[in-house]
Symmetry: C2
C-alpha cells in the first residue's frame, strides 16, 4: 500500500481562524482510492519548520501533497523553502511568466513586479496547469512524488482532481485510472446499508465503498480503478443499478442533486404545482424548496400555521377537528394539506404538524411525534413518525421526510 502525507501551510490554519478544507478533501479522496495518508501537518509560514517536516516526509512517504504558500507575497515561502531543502535551483519559467501576464490582463489587474515571483519553480518541476489563474507543480525526488498546490480550496480541488489523484493512482496501479461516484441515500441507517451492500455479489470485488453520514442523509462513495475509463464508468452504472434494485426507495441519486432539486425536477416534468402548510417545521420546507433557482415555476407558497387560529382561518381546518383530535394529529395533517392545496390553487398540498420540543410532549404524543399529510387531486395520505433528537434535528428530519414522501409519491 502506498503511503503518503499532506502538509497544509497558512497562518490562518494554526491560529484556528479558518477551518481546514484542503487537507480533509485530499485525505478523503486518497483514502477512497486506496492510498493511505499517515500524517497531516498544519504549519504557519516559517521556512525552517516546513523544511524539517518536508525532509521527514521524504524519508517516510511515497507522496507528499503541499498546499498553500504559492502566492506573490512575502509570507508565501513554500517554493523557495522546498527548493532549498531539496537542493534544487529555482528558475523563472518563461511560459509560466507569460501565462501570469495574460491572466492578470484578462482580469484587468495591473502588473506588479511581485507577480514575477509566481513564475519561479524548482528545476525539474512539472507545471500543473488547469487553465485558470492558479497553477501548481509536481516534482519527483528519489522515490517520492511531491505536489505543490495553491491554498484556495476551489483551485486546490481542481488541481487535485485533475492531476494529483489520477497521477498517483496511475503510478500506484502501474497506469490505472480511477472513477468515483457519490450517492445520496435517506431513510436507512449506515449499518443497514452496509449489510445490504456486503450481501450484493456485484460489490464483492474491485470496488471500494466509503460511508459518510451527512445528517440527515447517508452518502456512499463508490471507487473503481482499472485501465479503461469508459469501462469503469459502466461498472459504476452497474453497481448503482444493483444497489437501486435493493434500496430503490431510499436511493436519492448522485451527490450533485439535492432532495429539493429532485422534487423540483419531478414537479416540473409532471407539470404540477405545490403549496405547503408547515407547523413544527416553521418554514423550513419552503426555505429548502426555494433554494432551487426557478422554483417559482412550481412552488406557489405556503402557510406557516404556528397558531391554531392560523390553521382555522387560513387552512380551514375545522374547529371540531382541532378540538377533538388536537393540532398534532393525522386528521389535522390531512386537513392542513387539503386546506393549503385549496388556498393556493395548487395541484398538491404538503403539510407537517408535530412536536419539535423540548416541551409540549405527552405520554400519548411524545416530543418528536410528527404527522405528514399530502393532498392530491385523488385524495389525501397521512404518515406518522416519531423522531428523536434536539429541536433542530426534529425539524430537519420532519422537513426531509416530508420532501421525501412527496418525492416517492411523484415517482410512482
Amino acid at each position: 500500500m502506498m503511503l503518503g502525507e499532506i502538509i497544509a501551510t497558512g497562518t490562518e490554519l494554526i491560529t484556528g481562524r479558518v477551518a481546514d478544507f484542503n487537507a480533509r478533501y485530499a485525505a478523503r479522496r486518497l483514502h477512497e482510492a486506496g492510498l493511505a495518508v499517515q500524517r497531516i501537518t498544519f504549519l504557519g509560514d516559517r521556512a525552517p519548520l516546513f523544511q524539517e517536516i518536508l525532509l521527514q516526509g521524504l524519508r517516510r512517504s511515497q507522496f507528499i501533497i503541499i498546499t498553500g504558500g504559492l502566492g506573490p507575497t512575502e509570507d508565501d515561502v513554500t517554493v523557495a523553502a522546498a527548493a532549498a531543502a531539496l537542493n534544487l535551483r529555482l528558475f523563472q519559467d518563461d511560459g509560466l511568466l507569460a501565462r501570469i501576464r495574460r491572466c492578470l490582463a484578462a482580469r484587468r489587474i495591473p502588473w506588479e513586479e511581485r507577480y514575477a515571483r509566481l513564475a519561479y519553480i524548482p528545476e525539474g518541476a512539472l507545471i500543473l496547469d488547469p487553465g485558470g489563474m492558479a497553477c501548481g507543480f509536481a516534482l519527483r525526488h528519489r522515490d517520492t512524488r511531491l505536489y505543490f498546490l495553491p491554498g484556495v480550496p476551489q483551485e486546490m480541488q481542481a488541481l487535485f482532481d485533475t492531476f494529483v489523484l489520477p497521477g498517483l493512482v496511475a503510478w500506484a496501479g502501474n497506469g490505472a485510472a480511477i472513477v468515483q461516484r457519490t450517492l445520496r441515500l435517506f431513510g436507512i441507517t449506515e449499518l443497514a446499508l452496509q449489510e445490504i451492500v456486503s450481501a450484493l455479489p456485484e460489490f464483492h470485488d474491485g470496488v471500494t465503498v466509503g460511508y459518510y453520514p451527512t445528517f440527515p442523509e447517508t452518502h456512499l462513495t463508490l471507487t473503481v480503478q482499472g485501465r479503461d475509463r469508459e469501462a469503469l464508468a459502466a461498472t459504476l452504472d452497474r453497481l448503482t443499478a444493483a444497489l437501486a434494485r435493493e434500496v430503490d426507495d431510499v436511493l436519492l441519486g448522485p451527490e450533485e442533486a439535492t432532495l429539493e432539486e429532485l422534487v423540483g425536477q419531478l414537479l416540473r416534468e409532471q407539470g404540477l404545482t405545490l403549496a405547503t402548510a408547515e407547523s413544527c417545521t416553521g418554514g423550513l420546507i419552503g426555505h429548502r424548496l426555494t433554494n432551487v433557482a426557478g422554483s417559482s415555476d412550481y412552488f406557489q407558497g405556503g402557510v406557516v400555521s404556528y397558531s391554531n387560529q392560523a390553521k382555522l382561518d387560513l387552512l380551514q381546518v375545522p374547529a371540531e377537528v382541532l378540538a377533538s383530535r388536537g393540532a398534532v394529529s393525522p386528521e389535522t395533517a390531512r386537513d392542513m394539506a387539503r386546506g393549503v392545496r385549496t388556498a393556493f390553487h395548487a395541484d398538491l398540498g404538503l403539510a407537517v404538524t408535530g412536536i419539535a420540543g423540548p416541551s409540549g410532549g405527552s405520554p400519548a404524543k411524545p416530543v418528536g411525534t410528527v404527522y405528514i399529510g399530502l393532498a392530491t387531486p385523488q385524495g389525501e395520505d397521512v404518515w406518522h413518525y416519531i423522531f428523536h433528537g434536539h429541536r433542530e434535528e426534529i425539524k430537519t428530519l420532519s422537513a426531509q421526510t416530508a420532501l421525501d414522501r412527496l418525492r416517492r409519491q411523484l415517482k410512482k
Copy 2:
C-alpha cells in the same frame, strides 16, 4: 512568546471521514490568549509515528496538547505510547478506577475488563477531572507541559477550557488568569470594525482582539489577562460598553444568543406577537424564529407568498399595487406586512419581497433588490437593500436583515 503544538490522533482524521474540531478549537483559543501554536499534526493510531512526533515536539515546544486515543479499545494507543517514549512507568490509579466504575454504574453500562485500561496513567501525571465520564491528564517533562485530552469534542472542550488554557496562561503569565468574551455584530464590515476598535483608547492596552467573519455576521473575541478574575470581567464589561457606544446598532450582544433569540426575548418582554410574510426568503425567517424553543408564545406563523395570487388572496395586497408597482416594490412590502399582521391577528407584521436570482433581475431592479416591510399598530416602515451574492446568500442576508430591522425597532 510561548510556543506549542497540537497532536490530534484518530483514523477518522487522516482518512478525512470527519472534520477536525478539537485542534482548531484549541488553536483559536490559544492564539487569542497570546500562546502560539507552531504545528498541528493529525495522526492515525500507529504508535511509532506518534512517538516520533511527540519527541520532536518535546525538543521544540513548551506545551503539547494531545487529543484522542484515550479510550478503552485496542486502537487507543496514546497513553502507552507516550509513556514508553517518555520512559515513564504506567500504573493503575485506584481513585481513577473507582471513578470509572461509578460512572459506568450510573449509566447502567456493565463492567468489562477492558475498562480497567482507562485507569492506567504515567507516573507523575496529574488527573484532569471535570466531573463527567472522560478524564484527561497533564504531565511535565523537563520544560514542556503535556496535556492528554479525550477526542470527543464536548469532552475535549470542557477539559481544555477548565484546565488547559487557564493552566498555560497562569504559567506563561506567572500566575495570570484569562477571561474571554465573544461578541456578535451584524451590519458592519470587518475592516470598518477594525478601524473603530483601533481608534478606541480603551482598546489600546491589555486586550487582544480577534475577528472571525461568520457569514452573515462578524464575531469579535476579546481576551484579557491579569491577576484578578473579577477585575478582568469588569474590564470586559467596560470594553463592551465602549464598543457599544460606537456601534450600538450593529452590536447584537454576546455569542451565546442568536439574533432570533434576541428578537424572541424582546417580543416576550414587550408582550407582542409577530407574523411573517415571506416572498424571496421562502420561509427562512419562520424557520429561524421557530428554532427557538417556546417561540409559539409570540410567533403566530406566516405566509410564504411565492405566487402573486397568494399575495392577493392571503395577504390582501391590492391587485392595482401588484400591477402598477410590481411584486418587488416598497408598496408591496408595506401591504404584505400590513396584510399578514391582519390575517394572523398579530401585533407586528414583518414582510420581505425581493429578487434572489440568478434570473428575474432588470436594470431598474437588479438581482439582490430586496424590500423589507414592518407593520405595527402605529403604521408601516419599509427599507430598501441591494444585496450581492448567490441565491442562498441573498436569502440569508434578507432574512438576517429583516430580523435585525425588527430587533432595532423593538429596542427603540
